[in-house]
């Protein structure tokens, strides 16, 4: 099953954030709760956790790109 990693609402007045760094590469195994991607709002840097265990199937928004709140950043394929 594909589980999307979604850019969360990081604050009421935050509309978008930048992908700083993917901590996993496509094809890497990830555990639920493990940090997979670092994002930055105008004010803070945050680490987003994997919503499920599985394999990072694809990265939709690469590092240094900006993503709107609600955007799918990547897909985790569960077993």
């Amino acid at each position: 099953m594909d589980v999307p990693i979604v850019m969360p609402q990081l604050g009421v007045d935050i509309e978008e954030a930048q992908i700083d760094e993917w901590l996993k590469a496509e094809g890497d195994a990830v555990e639920e709760g493990e940090q997979v991607v670092i994002v930055t709002t105008p004010k803070v840097t945050l680490e987003l956790e994997a919503p499920a265990s599985g394999v990072l199937k694809s990265i939709a928004i690469p590092a240094d790109e900006i993503a709107k709140v609600g955007t799918t950043l990547g897909i985790i394929e569960t077993e």
């Binding site: 509309e15 978008e16 954030a17 930048q18 700083d20 760094e21 670092i38 930055t40 709002t41 105008p42 004010k43 803070v44 840097t45 590092a63 240094d64 900006i66």
Partner: protein, 821 residues
Amino acid sequence: MPKELFVDPQVMRKADRLRVPEIPVHAYATPLAEERQRYGDKTLIRVLRDMMMVREFETMLASFKAQGAYAGIEFVYKGPAHLSIGQEGAAVGSALALKPDDHIFGSHRSHGEFIAKGLSAIAGLEPAALAAIMEGHQGGAMLRSVEKILGGDNETEVAETFLLLGLLAEIFMRASGFNGGMGGSMHAFFLPFGAYPNNAIVGGSAGIATGAAMRKRLGGDGGITVAYSGDGSTGCGPVWEAMNFSSMAQLKGLWPEEHRGGLPVLFCFNNNFYAMGGQTIGETAGWDRLSRIGAGINPDAMHAETVDGTNPLAVADAVARKRALLVEGAGPALLDVECYRATGHSTSDANAYRSRDEIKAWTAHDPIALYAASLKEAGILDDTVEAALAEGVAARVRMVTAAAVDPAIAAPVDIRANPTLIGELMFSNTAIALPPEPVGTFNDPASTSRVRQLAKKARHGIDENGGLHSPMRAVTIRDALFETLLHHFTHDESLIGYGEECREWGGAFGVYRGLSDILPYDRLFNAPISEAAIVATAIGYAMEGGRAVVELMYTDFIGRAGDEIFNQMAKWQSMSAGMLKLPVVLRCSIGSKYGAQHSQDWSGLVAHIPGLKVVYPSTPYDAKGLLASALAGNDPVIFFESQRLYDATEMFHEGGVPEDYYQVPIGVPDVKREGTDVTILTLGPSLYAAVGAAETLAAEHGVSAEIIDARSLVPFDYETVLKSVRKTGRILLVSEASERGSFLMTLAADIGRYAHGDLTAPPQVLGSPNWIVPGAEMESTYFPQAQDIIDIVCCELIPEKNTDYRGLRGWDGLDLSRRGI
């Protein structure tokens, strides 16, 4: 809050028992025979002579205060005299253990500390160095005077007389005093002898000496600093803040190895048992023995000891041992030097709080008499030599006094000849030039996501379709400040920065974000929540030759650093007659949303205090350039930033925010929108309310508004504003500070004074009302809005528009004032 510091519940929750080190009390027991080996008889006799010198000097001042005369010299001395008679053993003993490059920061009772340190430095300096120092002071003028009155050229005598005359001329506030007459009794200092500023504020030296010690550690200057203060200062919060700051665990753990170690500062409490009218032991303190407080600071208990200040050799022994610890990096250290004050707090003290019996009992413990007796007993001194010493000291002090009251030698400061003389000393208006290439050790900025992100951002806030870029896609004020900070940190090795959340957090509002990946701990660090220590240490760091940019998270916290900002940061350049430079930038954010204690614009409060440059930019272009001017300049600057504007992008400056480094001069307002009918002068975020108002005024009322952003408060060049008023004839001033006593009122009064012929209506002021800042939901009813601006323009400035107040501010100002609101 580095992540490698793991708060381990297994450790923190384990039952344990703290062990406090033993704190020695009067443990000194070295036989005099050993001290003879250590110092030699000549030095032991000099110690006696130096104590006599301090006492005679203080006696002279007491005599002037009480009788208007000393040794046949009549003189009216109007200034204060906080004398240290009875405390000579403490001053001379500690100075004996200090080297010329150790720097003391005195108390308000500092004449003895100053004289003792000066005499010690003179004994320790090479003749050539002494000559150069004296020649370098005021172009050698004081040295010439001394040579003339002495009629001899014995190097030591010349230097000692120079020391005493420079001090006394300063106490008498003469132009030839060590600080040009701008310091006086409680602020006299002379850097080349290691006597750094004394402080009239009790405990004021603690934080400053701590910052100076930090500079000694980072600048590699060697030596230690000493913070002198009295026992009463243990009741002062900033003293505790300084002690905590000097022993922060990161100094011994997280800082780079070459700079690791507790700060080399000795907190030397000259404990005379009285704190003004209160008695520390038994009445106003609970420590019983002052040295006990060391146990509250760190596991070493600050190596604290109680020492017998009656015996100069006991003090010297303790200071020498503490000095060795400090140099090793085991600091800080604390000494409780008990030394009974024989005379009053000042000459106006009637000693109503202590018994004659007590004073009499202590006369049997007089440091000079006891020490002289011990030297005689050991065969080092006899009556003849003692009498000769006393005679020599009296003759010297009389000679110096005669010179200090002689206007031909020590001329009074001539204000009439130059009415703005003191004003000219407030700011040096000088700046450093940064090298073109980066200097220092730091990680490549390009490796951080912040810098990569910035490289992709638009430099202007308006996109190609005329819309606004989001703050993720264009340079904001937050980014603009970061760019200047990064440039200065990478081009000025002497610059350090700190605040309560500067590293991993990136600053509470993200200005520093990314900097902790670039800069090591000794350039950027998290400070304790100690606003007083943050500001005081920055001042000390700057006095010792460094440069600092420090942060108070909220302007509302200025109260916690009140003395440090108002009395220290603002005063030392002029109290030193311009000899000291204080390149300190204090960033303060002005808040929002959090209500009464987190949202106040206090820019007017600091602008009121002479001696501070004050800046409050509202656009990214101005923020970047003004911060550059502040950081490059050598004057103290309070740099305000609005939390609501950190995300603001550049809407005014053509071409947006330049990528390269540039400076915007402090003190020059900027026209943000041209107009012909009315001038709106704004300070802070009100600029944006004014822009909204101007658009409505043009579209709905046919009024053309010219908008000027003040950008700075001090200095302030009125020319741009006066030029505008000559065109429009009307002016409204807008800011978010509450109106009463605000900076707008000063501007409005001045504009009324300088432009009255050009005005068709009195200047109008629109600030926030004189009540607390409400929480987020009510803020729009509190801070001036566009509609409030339109109301005043149409109802008060251009009454022919004949409109009514549509906003909330149609209230009766006179009635509110009558009721204090």
